[in-house]
């Protein structure tokens, strides 16, 4: 199975080839090279996943396979960074998610990015991203994950800033990188703490169930919490940064400045779920060692989910709506992990979180790619420039509708099954939280259908060119993803992924299922009344709840808070005063020293007059003084 390393190496090779030779190749050639290499990677990944899921069960429990591992950097005898491939149910599942979406995006971009300046650069970056993301999920140890984590961050930076002449794109890419870097600082310190006490980076050891390695860290306390809790919480901060949890979510909506297929791949389906994957990867540590942190994850996830859903209801840029919806859905996954137990029925949350990750990746990528087709047709992101497009864009319309139904949680589409499991797990954890999450599910249905009706129904806007359906290279991925969305719900997911690796049969709880469907239908119904035809209700509501509406529209002013902290405090406060201090105080002192030396030499220069009489006088005076001193003493 050593060939599995090709899953990472192949995209990396493509990146190097396109990076070095890209300028010399024809645009379409580099696109084809990128796409073909991704297709091969996809085939290898599918084969690997197939071999793993059919062969890795021993006594009904999935084993961890490490088909490849080399030492890359050694710190001490026990601490060393390895680069390798770890196969277990979640990494095999992620392989499928990443390669599928990535391949779809590669194909889609052939049409979407056609004629763009820097086409080869785009494919080089896509390959770099795929390589890093695959390396991240296959990591055998936490430091390897951190390495690829950073690489993912930088590919995201490069792709958001793809249109590097646009000031908004540059600002957004910078913001995304710095906010996630800040979170990564937490991740890094968490890794350092955890590895110092456990003396290992290896996931195999950390999640082996051997609790003795944690006793020292659990026994040491710092500011009232165990160091272990600090470590896992800090590691989660890293995850929260990448997965855009409140209050580190601010970079994601801005990241929509990047090309739309990039948003589909990175900022909807793969990179943003890295945080969820991280928690799932370390789930035994969270669950057994620091359950309080895990509960914190659940509460934060629920809050973020609600917060983002409310904002999504009032945004007018279609990509922004989808971005907030992504944040909200990731919140669902975090909640699922947070409320989960370990083993058998208790582990429903874990399974559901991973299931939702899977289904969400497919339908959210579909939504973004659909949005891309719409933007491609009308050359705008704003809802007000759309309307009535269902006739002009029939394929986009149908696939978009399927995705909307899926995310709203309507059976038989995939989102229903995964979301239902999450709700069931949440209800059994705390009924109050279950109701809150159900309410958010209703909001989801509402804002998604608000989006849907505003784009495809209502009065058509004026267009310079008549909007027309996208080319086949763009619609094919839409159709494939829509097909997946229709059937993915029927995958017996518990047979593949469960908290303890044993078989788990999903059974729908009728009460939860009915409640959630009813709530979703209400959401859709309200949206239909409000937005299907022009109606005055939304405007009246807006006026009634003016404050709330404004706040939500401005994303509750979190960006302004950040701007205040970075601009006013760090930039103008700390940084400027340090720079001033350096030039005027420290350097001033050095210059002052030189100045004083200069002055002193001027002052005593007079003594060196060259007059013998004067020297003799001083000499005699000195002699007299010394003689006197000797005599007196």
């Amino acid at each position: 199975m050593e060939y599995t390393i090709l899953i990472v190496l192949l995209p990396m090779l493509t990146f190097i080839v396109l990076g070095l030779l890209g300028m010399k190749l024809k645009a379409c050639t580099s696109g084809l090279i990128g796409t073909l290499s991704m297709a091969v990677t996809t085939v290898i990944s599918y084969a690997t996943a197939w071999i793993y899921f059919t062969g890795a069960r021993v006594d009904g429990v999935y084993q961890k396979w490490v088909p490849f591992n080399i030492e890359w950097l050694r710190f001490t005898d026990t601490l060393h960074i390895d680069l390798g491939v770890l196969l277990d149910p979640i990494s095999a599942m992620m392989l499928i998610v990443i390669t599928t979406v990535s391949l779809m995006v590669h194909i889609y971009s052939l049409g979407y990015m056609k004629g763009e300046r820097g086409f080869e650069r785009y494919y080089a970056f896509l390959s770099l991203f795929s390589c890093s993301m695959l390396g991240l999920v296959l990591a055998t140890n936490i430091f390897q994950m951190y390495i690829f984590w950073e690489l993912v961050g930088v590919s995201s930076y490069l792709l958001i800033g793809f249109y590097y002449t646009k000031p908004e794109a540059i600002a957004a890419s910078k913001k995304a990188f710095i906010v996630t870097r800040f979170a990564d600082l937490g991740f890094l310190i968490g890794i350092l703490l955890l590895s110092f006490f456990t003396q290992t980076f290896d996931f195999g050891v950390l999640t082996s169930g051997d609790r003795s390695i944690f006793t020292q860290a659990a026994g040491t306390t710092f500011m009232g919490c165990s160091v272990l809790a600090w470590a896992t919480a800090l590691i989660f901060v890293g995850g929260a940064g990448k997965s855009a949890m409140f209050p580190l979510h601010i970079w994601l909506p801005d990241a929509m400045e990047g090309p739309t297929p990039v948003s589909a791949l990175i900022h909807a389906a793969t990179m943003v779920v890295a945080g969820v994957y991280l928690v799932a990867r370390l789930f035994p540590v969270y669950y057994f060692e620091t359950p309080e942190v895990l509960h914190g994850v659940a509460y934060l996830g629920a809050f973020t989910s609600l917060f983002a859903a409310v904002i999504a209801c009032v945004q007018t840029d279609i990509k922004r709506v989808l971005a907030f919806s992504t944040i909200s859905q990731i919140g669902f996954m975090m909640v699922a992990l947070g409320v989960s137990g370990y083993g058998g029925h208790n582990g429903t949350g874990y399974m559901a979180g991973m299931f939702h990750l899977f289904t969400h990746a497919m339908f959210k990528a579909l939504l973004f790619l659909g949005a891309g087709a719409i933007i491609h047709a009308v050359h705008s992101n704003e809802m007000s420039h759309m309307g009535g497009l269902r006739k002009q864009l029939p394929i986009t319309h149908i696939t978009f509708l399927i995705a909307c139904l899926a995310i709203a949680g309507i059976p038989p589409f995939s989102g229903f099954f995964s979301k239902d499991e999450i709700l069931a797990a949440t209800f059994s954890f705390a009924p109050a939280m279950g109701w809150i999450m159900s309410f958010i599910a209703g909001l989801t249905a509402f804002y998604m259908f608000r989006l849907y009706y505003n784009i495809f129904w209502g009065t058509p806007a004026e267009h310079e060119h008549e909007p027309h359906e996208a080319p086949a290279s763009m619609t094919t991925p839409l159709i494939i993803l829509a097909a997946v969305t229709c059937v993915a719900g029927f995958i017996p997911f518990g047979k593949f992924v469960s908290s303890d690796g044993a078989d788990y049969i999903i059974h729908l709880e009728a009460s939860v299922a009915i409640t959630s469907v009813v709530i979703a239908l209400i959401g859709i119904a309200v949206a239909t009344v409000f937005y299907r035809k022009k109606s005055s209700i939304p405007d009246r509501l807006e006026q009634t709840f003016n404050g709330l509406h404004n706040a939500a529209k401005h994303r509750f002013y979190i960006d302004e808070v950040y701007l205040f902290i970075t601009k006013r405090i760090i930039f103008n406060g700390i940084s400027r005063s340090i720079a001033w201090f350096d030039r005027h105080v420290i350097d001033g002192a050095m210059n002052g020293l030189a100045f004083v030396t200069n002055k002193m030499s001027f002052a005593i220069r007079g003594l060196q007059s060259g007059q013998i009489q004067q020297y003799l006088l001083v000499f005699l005076a000195g002699l007299l003084l010394i003689t006197l001193l000797v005599l007196v003493c």
Partner: protein, 497 residues
């Protein structure tokens, strides 16, 4: 003759050749030949060193030679290398090589420029091969003096002021150092024994505690000035801003490393007890350097100032790691020296090339250069990513080794300072991305820039060599890190003795 002495001999011959030649083509030919020979020599040395080590030769220093030079003070010309010096020699030869290409079109007075440049290299290479304190100091001074002229004559901006400032501050540091070295010499043997300047011999004896308390700070600060330790770093921004490209490269790339190298070869190795006792004072200063330099860099508008302050921050991390006094962190320190040397040389080379075209270094007056000079811009972005610690490039390896090593201390004091130092990775990202965003992205600010051209062959060569080295170290760090790690064992033994 000893193989290592070639490292001094070749630059000496290069310097002499400059007096004989007039034609610029021949001067270049000599410089390129000499620099390439040095590079080949350094690579050969590395291979031979690793060969000897794997053959089981575990002497502390390899390829040693010793000639008595000045009997009354027992001064020898004694040379030898361990893994750390090999790494430093490799770094120096890369920078000297690329520096020659970066100053291909040097004017005016190219002959004199290259003569001083070669003289500077004598000092640098001599320093890293010496195992005798006095010889080491001598080479150190040989490296410092040409700096004054190189900046004063070929510099830009307030060059006389900067040259004077840099030289005086570094001379002040070396004055402290001289006192320290003499202090070590006079305590190098027990009462009545033969005093010695040889580092290996001194390390076998224990210098009395009261002497250590006095001379450790002197030597550490003496070398620390060169390593841009807060608050003795202010020569760095002015000096680098005024220096011509190749001099900035050599100075930030190699000369600042002399400080770090001296700190553990002399200060810590010979006075381990004082190092254990007093490290906390310097740890505070270097910890400040790390964040202070980074914060200052955010506010700068001149490309060279940004990079100079960034150097203060990165070199601060070198000294910071050394003061952690354990093998992992010190390995990280040497890796950081290598990595920073390559990175900062690349930065200065690129800044020089950009300045040579735009005639400004003010980031507010530039913009959109990516479209105009894609090669230089892409290389600059790579340098920036290396600087902010992107995995796969050298900075990451060095920083992570430092952090993991620093975390081996469990007390709150060390923890707090380690976390403060870690936070620099965020601040670094801020100033790097700000700089890159302003200069290379966005719309073209100045219409005159549209007519500018991209790099020519010698510039490309210089930059590509550096990038290959950075990526090489970043992707396959294990052999370097192992070579350094095992060479640190004697120093660590001294510390825990």
């Amino acid at each position: 003759m000893n193989f290592l002495s070639l490292f001094v001999l070749i630059p000496v011959l290069m310097t002499c050749a400059m007096f004989l030649l007039k034609d610029i083509r021949r001067i270049r030919a000599v410089m390129v030949t000499g620099a390439s020979l040095l590079l080949v020599l350094a690579v050969t040395l590395t291979v031979m060193f690793l060969g000897q080590r794997s053959a089981g030769n575990d002497a502390e220093m390899l390829f040693t030679a010793d000639v008595l030079w000045f009997a009354p003070l027992n001064i020898h010309y004694s040379v030898g290398v361990d893994g750390i010096s090999v790494a430093m020699l490799l770094l120096s030869s890369i920078i000297v090589f690329t520096g020659v290409f970066a100053s291909w079109k040097m004017s005016p007075l190219p002959r004199e420029f290259f003569a001083w440049y070669s003289l500077l290299s004598i000092g640098v290479f001599g320093f890293f091969i010496s195992t005798d304190l006095f010889t080491m100091f001598l080479f150190y001074e040989v490296a410092l003096i040409p700096m004054y002229l190189l900046i004063g004559v070929w510099g830009t901006g307030r060059k006389e002021y900067s040259a004077m400032k840099l030289t005086l501050m570094l001379m002040g540091g070396s004055a402290l150092l001289l006192v320290g070295i003499l202090g070590i010499y006079f305590h190098s043997a027990p009462e009545g024994g033969q005093l010695s300047m040889n580092i290996l011999e001194i390390s076998k004896n224990t210098i009395p505690m009261n002497a250590q308390y006095l001379f450790f700070p002197l030597t550490f600060v003496g070398f620390g000035v060169l390593g841009a330790m807060f608050p003795f770093h202010t020569w760095s921004p002015d000096g680098h801003a005024s220096a011509p490209t190749a001099v900035s490269m050599l100075h930030a790339g190699v000369l600042m490393k002399l400080g770090g190298y001296g700190c553990f070869r002399v200060a810590i190795y010979l006075m381990p007890e004082a190092a254990n006792e007093l490290s906390w004072i310097f740890l505070i200063l270097t910890g400040i350097s790390v964040v202070y330099g980074a914060f200052s860099a955010i506010k700068q508008t001149d490309l060279k100032y940004i990079n100079a302050y960034s150097s203060v921050s990165h070199c601060g991390l070198v000294l910071f790691a050394i003061l952690m006094l354990n093998q992992t962190a010190m390995t990280g320190a040497v890796l950081q020296m290598l990595s920073h040397g390559l990175m900062t040389a690349l930065f200065f080379a690129l800044i020089g090339m950009i300045y040579g075209r735009t005639h400004t270094r003010d980031i507010r007056e530039m913009g959109g250069l990516m479209k105009i000079m894609p090669f230089l811009s892409v290389c600059f972005v790579i340098a920036g990513l290396a600087s902010l610690g992107l995995p796969g490039l050298s900075g990451f390896v060095a920083e992570m080794t430092v952090f993991v090593g620093s975390f081996e201390h469990t007390d709150t004091f060390h923890r707090v300072f380690t976390i403060i130092a870690c936070s620099s990775i965020v601040i670094t990202a801020v100033y790097i991305l700000r700089m890159v965003g302003k200069v290379f992205y966005g719309a073209v600010q100045n219409k005159d820039h549209l007519a500018l051209t991209d790099a020519v062959w010698f510039e490309r060569l210089s930059v590509i060599v550096l990038i290959v080295a950075i990526a090489g170290l970043g992707m396959a760090p294990l052999w370097v890190s192992d070579m350094i790690h095992e060479s640190l064992a004697p120093i660590i033994e001294q510390l825990i003795k």
